[in-house]
Symmetry: C2
Subunit: 168 residues, 2 copies
Amino acid sequence: MSTSHDDLRHHPGHLIRRAQQVHYWLWNAEVSPEVTSPQFACLYALRAEKNIDQKTLGEHVSLDRSTVAEVVTRLTTRGLVQRFRDPRDARRNLLRLTPAGLRTTERLIPKAARMNRILVSVLSECEQAELLRMLNLVVDADESLRKSAPSPTLPRERVRERRALKAG
Amino acid sequence: MSTSHDDLRHHPGHLIRRAQQVHYWLWNAEVSPEVTSPQFACLYALRAEKNIDQKTLGEHVSLDRSTVAEVVTRLTTRGLVQRFRDPRDARRNLLRLTPAGLRTTERLIPKAARMNRILVSVLSECEQAELLRMLNLVVDADESLRKSAPSPTLPRERVRERRALKAG
DNA sequence: TCAAAATCGTCAGTACACGGACTATAGTTT
DNA sequence: AAACTATAGTCCGTGTACTGACGATTTTGA
């Protein structure tokens, strides 16, 4: 007997969302509910590359300008990141880990690694590698998919439709 | 030369988040920016099972109470779903697709299918099946992981910590 | 050199996503 | 029947996540 939630098991998109939920729960339980996963990604990137601006950080962790700004605001509020204007280009905000930020990052690194192991622990070593490889393929394919195929109906136009629809 | 965003390619959790981004973009371009993916999941579930309450819907599409309530509110506002009190149990809100809701759902079903095909189109048929199988394994494993392993540090306790930390 | 174009960040608006507190209702126990 | 418990939904707060509009600044090109 097949019901709808059964059926959704064949939808990759839906499965990806559910996988992210699992990741979210596991993160809270195993890593830290204080520092979220996107926040950690930022800290982690900032640890590797000091004094980068928000745009660059966004490219590293795959977040858009607005979201980076919000996340960084939270991190600075908690004293984990320092934000200051680039003297050489007053448009940019340069970012740097504070000592506390570095400590927190390094404390969480092994926990995040452990969480990731648990996340895919139902799979064999071989399968884990396969999953990683395939996800990377899907994620990389996007770049080509976004550039090409603006297709007959442009995304931008569609968004206008939505706004119009809601206004009316 | 390995930088941080390079490194994040080995983190399943991060990859899952990125995969969801790709899914989001593809959904907007290929299915509909008016009806989001979670909204569609609800419509789809409601099409299969009429007159279910919000909790049941949430179980089918894997969303918590609060989010279901919000999504359903949007769908009712747009006239796609009808919400009314269960006469036999006044705690429940029963949900039903409107004729317009049914039409919209059936119009989007083939588009969603197409989007899902594109999403995994970089993989071979065989790989696609493998990815689906593995994601289902990970997602199902969660149920056992949540039940067991409340572990030394309980998630609930940790959340308290965060709230306390922010207050201070 | 100076106006146009590109770039970075911010802000407002929309939508998921979740936990916890609260209310209303239903079911159970004594 | 009254008290207790369980359940469904709502409301509030927090945190992603993205788009579009805007302002400040830099870069480019005539």
